[in-house]
């Protein structure tokens, strides 16, 4: 299916998990399709990067569940910052470990999982988190991280077959399999749709991260993580990300950036990026 078809399955008000990590292997083509849709009022769960920034800039996020939002090589995500400082974005802040265990709880159909992380910090009260006491002799008390059950997960991987099996070829799986397992429906975009028999020559079975039984649709999106990294297919487009961050700092510049890069379909985006790269060369 196309990115627009995948996004047409989403509804306003949904809880959407977005895979990747910071400015790494984000499903940006799916996010751009979301920007073209009229879906809004979302609760977004993300190891946040420019996915959060773009959706926040477009006013699509009601509530964000995250441990951070960063562009990695640029520490602070400018649109996320601006939305927070204008009071537009409700934030449920959790530790990275709580995101991991919240998604795991949802994948295992458990209401919570206990973690030591969070105790004594301001995450407990701000997030409305409760504690749970061990029934064993130790009697220890832990933070009970609620299941982060998702309506939809959006992830981007290097390769997938038409049935939804998907393979990562970079150094880190991030939490993409957990996002898919925590969701009622998951949509996987990939650099290339391949025949199932092509997986094994590309990497061992442990690279087959996402399994077809939890995937509802596959989108072939060459450059679909741009401008975040998608190694080994490509690294982060630092020049483009710098231009994005610079434009975000000024409303007029952001209107111009939106007009140039985000007003057409994915083909128009790629053509505009090619022009940008040619100019920079």
């Amino acid at each position: 299916m196309t990115a627009d078809e995948a996004v047409s399955r989403l509804e306003s008000g949904m809880t959407v998990g977005i895979g990747g990590w910071g400015s790494r292997r984000k499903p940006m083509a799916l996010v751009r399709a979301l920007l073209r849709s009229d879906v809004r009022d979302l609760t977004v769960v993300s190891c946040g990067g420019p996915d959060v920034g773009l959706l926040a800039a477009a006013g699509r996020i009601r509530k964000l569940v995250a441990a951070f939002t960063t562009l990695d090589s640029i520490p602070l995500e400018p649109h996320f910052r601006a939305a927070r400082q204008r009071g537009e974005l409700e934030l449920m802040e959790l530790d990275e470990a709580m995101i991991l265990w919240g998604l795991t709880a949802a994948a295992h159909r458990l209401p919570f999982l206990p973690v030591r992380a969070g105790l004594g910090s301001d995450l407990m009260t701000a997030g409305g988190l409760r504690t749970v006491t061990s029934p064993y002799e130790d009697g220890e008390e832990f933070a009970a991280v609620p299941a982060l059950t998702l309506d939809v997960a959006l992830v981007h991987l290097n390769r997938a077959d038409a049935r939804g099996n998907a393979q990562y070829l970079g150094p880190d799986p991030y939490f993409d399999d957990l996002f898919c397992e925590a969701a009622r429906e998951a949509y996987v975009s990939c650099e290339r749709v391949v025949a199932t028999a092509e997986f094994a020559p590309a990497g061992g079975p442990q690279t087959l991260l996402v399994r077809r039984h939890c995937v509802s649709g596959v989108v072939e999106a060459h450059g679909g993580a741009h401008f975040t990294s998608c190694v080994p297919d490509y690294g982060r487009d630092e020049a483009f990300q710098a231009a994005y961050a610079e434009a975000a700092a000024d409303p007029a510049a952001w209107r111009e950036f939106t007009g140039r890069f985000l007003s057409g379909d994915e083909g128009a985006y790629r053509a505009a990026v090619a022009d940008f790269t040619g100019e920079a060369a």
Partner: protein, 251 residues
């Protein structure tokens, strides 16, 4: 070789944080702590584990900014979190704010609904501070960073851990705070911050004036030790030949 500059004193002070840690993961955040961890591994703490900052444990010790060549293990983010919870780690984090009890903030300045300045977010500050030794690196020691009270408790300090109970204190421990002026720690009965050593050329008055709460500077406070000739050579020729450390520390 000429005398050491302030940045080099700071690199050695950061390295000292990992002395005696044995076979654990050293997780430095920032250039000077990264140089310090590498110096520790090349000298007095050879068993330390280091990563490339991504998903690989590296066996060699490259220069800052240069790629590592020898992978000795795989540590993607999810395994990194398991390692943290397992306790075999000593992190040196940054801090936008840090108070006298060691509570740290990297998330926001101002309130939760509409912060005056939204920063990075809590990241792994709570899993770190509650599970394994934590130190802090403050490249610019000012009253805006060393504050009476942090706007949000991300990294958990001694008072908050004690109030949260035995599960919070069981593995909690803040080893030291290295700034551009001094090394500080919490080695007092009430677990509040004190000066362990002043960097060469820094006065007690200077540090007090740069701190947003009353700070204990013992009358007989020692000087932070100078780098040895061997350490200076490693810093200047092997670990940081491009002088990146100067980006973090004022001359």
């Amino acid at each position: 070789m000429s005398g050491a500059g302030r940045a080099e004193v700071c690199v050695v002070a950061c390295a000292e944080a990992w002395r005696g840690d044995g076979e654990i993961l050293a997780s430095p955040m920032g250039l000077v702590p990264t140089a310090g961890a590498r110096l520790a591994k090349l000298t007095f703490s050879p068993e330390l584990l280091l990563t490339d900052g991504e998903a690989t444990l590296v066996a060699d010790v490259p220069a800052l900014g240069a790629p590592a060549r020898v992978a000795e293990g795989w540590l993607p983010f999810r395994r990194h979190l398991a390692l943290a919870a397992g306790g075999k780690r000593h992190v040196m984090m940054g801090a936008s704010q840090l108070d006298r009890h060691g509570n740290q903030n990297i998330s926001r300045i101002g309130g939760p609904e509409r912060p005056a300045r939204q920063l990075l977010g809590v990241r792994g500050a709570t899993v770190n501070t509650l599970n394994h030794p934590t130190s802090y690196w403050i490249p610019r020691h000012t009253p805006r960073v060393l504050v009476e009270r942090v706007d949000m408790v991300c990294g958990v300090g001694y008072d908050r851990a004690a109030a949260a109970g035995p599960s919070a204190t069981r593995f909690h421990g803040i080893r030291c705070v290295v700034t551009d002026l001094a090394v500080l720690d919490f080695e007092r009965p009430d677990r509040t911050m004190r000066v362990r050593s002043l960097h060469p050329g820094v006065t007690a008055e200077e540090v007090r004036a740069a701190t947003g709460f009353p700070l204990d500077v013992p009358a007989d406070v020692p000087r932070t030790r100078m780098p040895t000739a061997g350490e200076l050579r490693l810093i200047r020729e092997v670990i940081d030949p491009d002088g990146l450390r100067a980006r973090e520390v004022r001359a």
